[in-house]
């Protein structure tokens, strides 16, 4: 909205030069409806933008102008008012609100349309929505706000990634991640952006909306627009929060006494233990140890803070927005630290009434210390072992030298893994309006990334586990270039209006890296800078990767009287990764909408205030395979004739596919947008079906061919879904406003075809199932004591895992008795959002549910039936505890030798969580205006506060993993503007 308003405003300032005698004019600018002063309003001499000023805090201005000039009063959201001076010395202006500008504008990719005229499935999120829950990653703040978009956190580590999926998985091997466009330029490092720098985000879901992005848009497009400068008074905003993160559930491992009982059971099974008289035999000198609860040594409270300062200002010709921010996160593990420094400068300048120039620049620098997750070891360490000896010194090797004490990683100069990333993301555009309704724009974006990874791990670290100390230094840089030429032509023929858009786009990426590694360096405290002193396992390397995409797009927007709307898009894309002759593909799409409320029969309906019906159909492509997938490349193998090193080159295990072509997705979408009771309740409903064919699959090949796999175009998938979003203003009073939002969606994925008629068990792909199936034996329980004979028929004993003999042939085999246990894809995702404003207080609350997905619960694997290592507190079988949960401990049988152990892992990963609660208080205007502020708000906010799931002490959002547990965050913050 503001962007359009700025554009309108700029258009108003047409330059014609007048030269006359000058007089000083003063006056006051007010809002016509309320009579309130308009602060920061532009007062310009029409035709000479250099003569201008802005109104002060009381709406007053003073300006020297030619006596016969014309004054133009303009401000965002108001209709520009022109007043001839006519020799007057005092001119007051009362501005009318601009209804057109106030109507929400949606960015659709290379253009904008009014929200009411959107024909595709697009959701729009504005800056205010992003601020309610403070987050590290701007995408996370969208969680639950967008029907059809599945956003989950991948772990709880500092700076952990976010998984984004628009309308489910379509591709089995190629990427399913959506395309991110920041200010018109492709930019995938969305975590670099500070949420406070963002003006709006649009999510394009159906093929008709994404078609203008062609192949890149097959997985949905997220368009991010950063803040632009505003003409008028300088506005400074300061946003900060700081807080503590705590563990959001972590399952318990056995303590010393539980472990002792467990180990006795394991040895009792083998006849090695019958009574406490045998304790010495199985525990040795650990018998009287007080022991340690290992995970507690490592898990601590973390910290998170963010400070952001933004300044926006501008004159009639030049606007700018600059900001800087610093973000710091300390994870739940010591030495898991992320620092992010971020600088942004957005500048727009009007060269003349026909030429405009602008640039947006962002520099992001990360300094991150990565901790080698000690919890895996900590969970396994026998709890009778202790980390420190009687004198309080660290014991580096424990368990008779079998385990490295995970605390050794914290010793000075023993372990360091430091990652530094610098990204410069800059773009500049030049636009020309040779005619009033014709614009040409050239946009050049560059994305430079420099990374440096330095690792040093001493011998006694979790990473090296007793091997020689290792140092590694990897430097990488990548250059992404995006050049786009955009042509826009608008015209009207009576009630028919047309917008034609043509885009030519070139996108290139080049990545280079060098790496060096060596073991056994002399002095540890040189860390990876002492790599030159390493004398063993020295290895160096360099890598190069490039890809290019060349595209031509055309689009027609047709609008009949704001009643019937039609969008036609055609795009052709050429991708370098695909094979010669298959590089180019054509992606057409069409969408139409009917605004029923514009018809006479609904024009004054007391209930229905808005109704729009949309349909769309389109094709999108996916070429997201690694470069050089068409080539059979060679790999170097280490070799030597006796002591003389020699070079060997053999085939890579992946064989090239000279016929690689586009994966295409065809989506049909139908939707309704509605508003009732004067739009007190508004909502959207979409149904869609996507068919993806010629899937780019990594196909496993018979090993006898000498190759392991190849990338092929085989198979077909189908996604069907329904998405509902409803927003209601429950209470709308001057000092009490309550907004409720609910959204719900489900996507059904189905594999329709694979390379052959049969299922692909090796890859876990099954026809008729989702893209993420769990295929295994079906666990029935544990063989009980009274089932000894039945167990014997399967060569098993009471206490062993009982699985179902699916075909009833009296034996269990991998071919006939494994079935699809479940799917990792959720049945539905729902969100409830409540926004309450009561006098100066605001309260936001979000509940998020993801339901029906199965997860492979990693902690099931933390079970050592031999009791050589510690286990989780699992309910294990003993003759006295006839459980059906876990098998009998057995000192002679490892977990991997326990038949059908894998059948124990599958758990219902459904959850409902209180994702965020924020309570804020804004100082009243009367008070802050005395402090020369325009806003002062303090808040407390909690994230990931409470989770309901079927798994105890575990947050299943991250999907079953065991490292870097999820956290809960409580912060206090402040927003100040002046």
């Amino acid at each position: 909205m503001k962007i359009l308003a700025t554009a309108l405003l700029n258009l108003c300032a047409v330059m014609v030069l007048w030269g006359q005698g000058t007089i000083t004019v003063t006056g006051k600018v007010t809002d016509k409806a309320s009579g309130e002063p308009v602060i920061g309003c532009n007062v310009l001499l029409k035709g000479d933008a250099s003569l201008g000023t802005i109104t002060d805090i009381d709406g007053n201005y003073s300006l020297s102008v030619p006596a016969d000039g014309v004054l133009a009063f303009s401000y965002i959201g108001y209709v520009t008012l022109e007043e001839p001076v006519g020799g007057r010395k005092k001119i007051d202006a009362a501005l009318e609100t601009d209804q057109v500008a106030l109507e929400e504008v949606v960015i659709i990719g290379y253009g904008t349309v009014k929200k009411s005229n959107v024909t595709g499935a697009i959701v729009s999120v504005k800056a205010e929505d992003l601020k309610t829950v403070p987050t590290t990653n701007v995408i996370e703040s969208l969680q639950g706000k967008l029907p059809g978009v599945d956003i989950t956190r991948s772990s709880g580590g500092a700076g952990a990634g976010i998984n984004v999926l628009v309308r489910g998985n379509r591709s089995l091997t190629a990427s399913n991640a959506p395309l991110f466009i920041v200010d018109g330029i492709q930019y995938s490092n969305i975590q670099d952006l500070n949420p406070n720098d963002i003006e709006s985000m649009e999510v394009l879901k159906d093929a008709a909306s994404t078609a203008i992005y062609g192949s890149r848009g097959a997985n949905g497009v997220i368009i991010i627009t950063t803040k632009k400068g505003r003409t008028g008074k300088t506005n400074v905003s300061f946003n900060a929060y700081t807080g503590v993160s705590t563990l959001a559930g972590y399952p318990r491992v056995m303590g010393p006494e539980e472990y002792k009982a467990f180990r006795r059971e394991a040895n009792r099974t083998t006849g090695n233990w019958t009574s406490s008289a045998d304790d010495a035999k199985i525990f040795g000198n650990l018998l009287n140890s007080t022991g340690t609860y290992w995970p507690d040594i490592f898990l601590q409270d973390g910290k998170q803070s963010d400070y952001q300062l933004g300044i926006t200002s501008g004159t009639a010709k030049t606007n700018f927005y600059v900001s800087m921010s610093y973000f710091n996160e300390e994870g739940l593990l010591e030495k898991d630290v992320l620092n992010r420094y971020n600088f942004r400068a957005n500048i727009d300048h009007k060269i003349s009434d026909k030429f405009q120039f602008g640039t947006q620049n962002q520099i992001t620098f990360y300094d991150q210390d990565l901790r080698f997750d000690p919890l895996g070891t900590a969970n396994k360490l026998v709890p009778l072992e202790v980390p420190y000896d009687a004198d309080g010194n660290l014991i580096p090797l424990i368990n008779n030298g079998r385990n490295i004490n995970p605390l050794t990683d914290l010793l000075e100069n023993n372990y360091e893994n430091n990652l530094r990333t610098t990204r410069i993301f800059s773009s500049a555009y030049l636009s020309v309006n040779p005619l009033k309704n014709l614009s040409l724009k050239s946009n050049l974006g560059i994305n430079l990334t420099n990374t440096r990874e330095g690792l040093y791990a001493g011998s006694q670290t979790n990473f090296r586990n007793g091997a020689q100390p290792l140092a590694r230094y990897i430097a990488g840089n990548s250059i992404g270039l995006n050049l786009e030429n955009i042509l826009n032509y608008e015209f009207k023929l009576q009630n028919h209006s047309f917008v034609l858009t043509g885009v030519q786009s070139l996108l290139t990426n080049r990545f280079e890296s060098s790496s060096a590694e060596g073991a056994n360096q002399l002095i540890p405290n040189q860390l990876y800078y002492g790599l030159a002193n390493a004398n063993a396992q020295v290895s160096i390397g360099a890598a190069y990767k490039e890809s290019a995409l060349l595209s031509y797009t055309g689009r027609l927007l047709y609008n009949y009287n704001d009643k019937y709307l039609l969008t036609l898009t055609a795009r052709t894309d050429g991708a370098s990764q695909l094979s010669e002759g298959n590089k180019w593909a054509f992606f057409p799409s069409a969408s139409a909408a009917w605004r029923v409320t514009q018809e006479n029969f609904l024009s004054n309906n007391p209930v229905i205030s808005d109704l729009k019906i949309r349909v769309s159909y389109g094709v999108a492509g996916n070429s997201a395979v690694e470069p050089y997938s068409t080539q059979s490349v060679l790999n170097r193998v280490p070799f030597a004739w006796d002591e003389a090193a020699a070079i060997g080159y053999t085939y890579s295990t992946r064989i090239g596919n000279p016929d690689l072509r586009w994966e295409t997705s065809t989506t049909a979408n139908a939707g309704v947008d509605f508003g009732v009771f004067d739009n007190r309740i508004v909502g959207t409903l979409d149904v869609f079906q996507t068919k993806t064919s010629d899937l780019l699959l990594q196909r496993l090949l018979p090993l006898s061919s000498g190759a392991l796999n190849t990338i092929e175009n085989v198979g077909e998938t189908e996604n069907k879904g329904i998405e509902i979003g409803v927003n209601a203003i429950a209470v709308d009073k001057a000092n009490f406003r309550w907004n409720i939002g609910v959204n719900w969606f489900r996507v059904r994925e189905k594999i329709l075809k694979l390379a052959t008629e049969s299922n692909d068990v090796a890859n876990g792909w099954f026809i008729g199932q989702t893209t993420e199936s769990f295929y295994d034996y079906e666990k029935l329980g544990i063989w009980q004591s009274n089932e000894a004979d039945a167990a014997k028929a399967f060569n098993q004993l009471p206490g062993d895992i009982k699985v179902k003999d699916q075909n009833g042939d009296g034996k269990i085999d991998a071919t006939n008795d494994r079935i699809i246990i479940g799917s990792g894809r959720p049945s539905w995702i729902g969100n409830f959002n409540s926004d309450l404003k009561f006098f100066n207080f605001d309260l936001n609350l979000q509940v998020y549910a993801r339901w029906g997905q199965m997860i492979r619960y990693g902690f099931t694997g933390v079970y050592d039936p031999q009791a050589n290592e510690n286990s989780l507190v699992h309910d294990y079988w003993t003759p006295e505890n006839p459980t059906n949960a876990f098998p009998r401990p057995n000192a002679n049988r490892s977990q991997s030798a326990t038949l059908y152990y894998s059948s124990l892992f599958y758990q219902d990963g459904s959850f409902v969580k209180l994702r965020g609660v924020t309570l804020g208080y804004s100082l009243p205007n009367s008070l802050i205006s005395k402090m020369h502020l325009s806003k002062f708000r303090v808040y407390v906010s909690g994230r990931n506060l409470w989770t309901y799931s079927k798994i105890d002490d575990y947050d299943p959002e991250r999907g079953g993993g065991t490292s870097s547990p999820m956290n809960r965050l409580i912060v206090g913050g402040v927003n100040v503007e002046f």
């Binding site: 030519q504 064989i655 049988r893």
Partner: protein, 272 residues
């Protein structure tokens, strides 16, 4: 303002990108068979790599896991964590074993066929590598020796297996099951060429030589039941070159006996 000029300038900008060779892939960090195996120095790297797969049998645990563990030669220690390795059943691809995570079989199978594919590539492309005739003869002998050797490992371990002498150039999705006799025909043919092509000695320790090929052939003939041929060849290796049998079997494992002109045969063998 000259509208025409602006339009022309913008059109020029548009056209500046319309270059189709932007989509040509360049891969300077990668190498392909076409660029490497077609010149003499590159072909040497193929032969070197073909040798490197012998490490899958001699340098790794897999071979003795597969052939010895699970027999009565091995006993588990007190707190053995991998007792499953002690059960022959788990290593030999039983139904339950297939569902387990053990990959010994898979890895040996895979590496043998990777090596064979490389040998096939070399043997069929040796005339295009620009080698001198003298070098070509020796390298072909080596590759034939190695191909015979890898097929021998496969067929001795698993019997009738997939067999081809054609290099894999694109994705192959099927395998054949060729009778052991047919595979032995090829082994014998390859070894005959190896015996006639290879020199008696080499300056690069580790390269296949004529006596090695003869000794291997003796072993193959013995397996085939051609005892007379086996005996003749074995005698020839012992008497015609500077080789002796070690007096004590255990001395074969003595580190001080490395690179001595004494051996019990060309290769330790799978305990079939």
């Amino acid at each position: 303002m000259n509208r025409l000029n602006i339009i022309i300038a913008m059109a020029g900008l548009f056209l500046s990108v319309g270059c189709a060779d932007l989509l040509e892939e360049e891969n300077p960090a990668g190498l392909t068979a076409v660029t490497v195996y077609t010149n003499p120095a590159g072909f040497e790297t193929l032969v070197n790599a073909a040798y490197s797969y012998t490490r899958a049998w001699y340098g790794k645990e897999e071979a003795y896991n597969l052939t010895e563990m699970g027999t009565d030669l091995w006993l588990p220690g007190v707190d053995n964590r991998r007792l499953d390795l002690m059960s022959y059943n788990n290593l030999q691809g039983s139904e339950a074993g297939l569902a387990s995570t053990e990959t010994f079989i898979e890895r040996l199978w895979q590496r043998s066929y990777q090596a064979i594919n490389l040998c096939n590539t070399g043997i069929s492309g040796i005339n295009d590598a620009g080698l001198t005739d003298a070098v070509k003869t020796v390298r072909e002998g080596e590759l034939r020796f190695l191909r015979a050797y890898y097929y021998w490992l496969l067929t001795e371990q698993w019997g009738d297996v997939h067999f081809t002498t054609t290099p894999t150039t694109s994705a192959e999705t099927t395998a054949n099951r060729t009778p052991r006799a047919k595979i032995y025909e090829q082994i014998v043919e390859d070894l005959n060429i190896a015996i006639s092509n290879l020199p008696s000695t080499t300056t690069q320790y580790g390269r296949a030589t004529k006596p090695a090929a003869e000794a291997f052939m003796a072993r193959v003939q013995l397996t085939l039941g051609n005892n007379q041929q086996a005996s003749t060849l074995a005698q020839k290796v012992i008497s015609s070159y500077n080789y002796k049998l070690v007096p004590k079997f255990a001395d074969l494992w003595s580190m001080s006996n490395l690179k001595k002109a004494r051996s019990s045969g060309p290769a330790t063998t799978p305990s079939t």
